[in-house]
Amino acid sequence: MNPNELQTPELAEVEVHGTSRGAFILRGALAAGALYGLGSVAPFVSGALAKSAGGDIDILNFALTLEYLEAAFYKEGQQQVKLSSDVKNLAQLIQGHEDEHVAALTKAIKGAGGKPVAAPAVSFPFSDESGFLKLAQTFEDTGVSAYNGAAPAIKSVDVLASAGAIVQVEARHAAAIRLQTGESPAPDAFDKSLEKDAVLKAVQPFIKS
């Protein structure tokens, strides 16, 4: 089979028959609704999420802090230093994604009955494109490790699916940035996972409190 022929029909297949996130989550909701009655499920689950210490809401808020940090970083990068057109386009693309992650996580936290954390005040030490890219690489690699470290503790299968959809995009950002810095886009066969404390320690220098 010609690979050019392969690409289109198979990707169309993903669109039509694949588990879209929406369908996946809706199926979960319908299954749960059949078991418990739709009206009873939502308050039960959101209550369980809100009350469990170190539960999904904490993880979502942890992710939200990182996404706020990344979004602010890319915004500042575009405003503060002169970037080549390739890097500028990439920074713009990634900032848009991080903004979408912030919005999605905020909604999820509210929907689960939690309180979204506020955007942290931030400060980033870079003065040129090279410094910007170096820091971008650190943020994206750390972001991947943070999600991968937190994900196994996620209780809700739907929150997990969404975290997975986000972390793959963070990994794609990391690879794209690494191509700009001239480093291997995938330096290891397995991405490391980091515990929350280690991640917070890594990003602490950029948060002004």
Binding site: G18, A29, A103, N148, A153, K155, V159, R172, L179
Partner: protein
């Protein structure tokens, strides 16, 4: 490196605590929660993430029976089936990169990148094989594969297709994995597949993130159908 499947989690800086260790000690807790899925947080995430343009497919796929969502049972029960499914894909990717390296179509830094990606897929094969054994299952056999290798550009396109599909395949299984340890390992591989895909897309002059801010999952049936033309005998 001789990867054990639990390596990624063992590389964390602190021992697992709290919810993670409770989950590890209680492998059925995720399964239990799965039956309760669909609550407030999930509904909000549906609303928040659904803006990516996939909502139009909801009415088609939501009516499918739940069993059709997971076609990996042919590879074994539960996590064994999922890991063997992943192993089959990794075998194909490894064979593909090996054939590409041998084809002589690439030189210099492109060849180095292809070699590295291939070596990483081979590490995934080793890790997943060990995981199946650890779960008490029999590792899936290496499929016999053949790939069309005409010219550098079409090979790169095929590589990108395979990697994007591979990343989507892992994402499609994440929620079905019962063991937190297997989940951690699958995620550690999943993001590497995403990195490969993004790098290949970039080399082809395409977006590193074709799905936008939220990567889309692919069902096993879709993935297996896509790779079927490359499996011979």
């Amino acid at each position: 490196m001789t990867p054990e499947i639990h390596d990624p989690t063992s590389e964390t800086e602190a021992p697992p605590t709290g919810a993670l260790s409770r989950l590890a000690a209680d492998p059925v807790s995720r399964k239990r929660f799965l039956t309760m899925a669909g609550g407030g947080g999930a509904a909000a995430f549906l609303a928040a993430c659904g803006s990516g343009g996939s909502s139009s497919t909801t009415s088609t796929t939501a009516t499918m029976p739940a069993s059709a969502a997971n076609d990996v049972s042919q590879f074994g029960k539960g996590d064994v089936g999922i890991v063997n499914y992943a192993l089959t894909l990794e075998y194909l990717e490894t064979a593909f990169y090996q054939d590409v390296v041998n084809s002589g179509l690439f030189k210099g830094s492109s060849l180095a990148t292809i070699k590295q990606f291939g070596e990483e897929e081979a590490e995934h094969v080793q890790a997943l094989t060990a995981a199946v054994k650890k779960l008490g299952g029999t590792p899936a056999p290496q499929p016999k594969a053949k790939f069309p290798l005409k010219d550098a550009n079409s090979v790169l396109k095929l590589a990108a297709t395979v990697e994007n599909l591979g990343a989507a395949a892992y994402l499609g299984q994440a929620g079905a994995i019962q063991s937190p340890e297997i989940l951690a390992s699958a995620l550690a591989i999943h993001t590497v597949e995403g990195r490969h895909a993004a790098a290949l897309n970039t080399l082809l002059g395409e977006s590193p993130t074709p799905d936008g801010a939220f990567a889309k999952p692919a069902e096993a049936a879709t993935v297996l159908k896509a790779v079927k033309p490359f499996i011979v005998g």
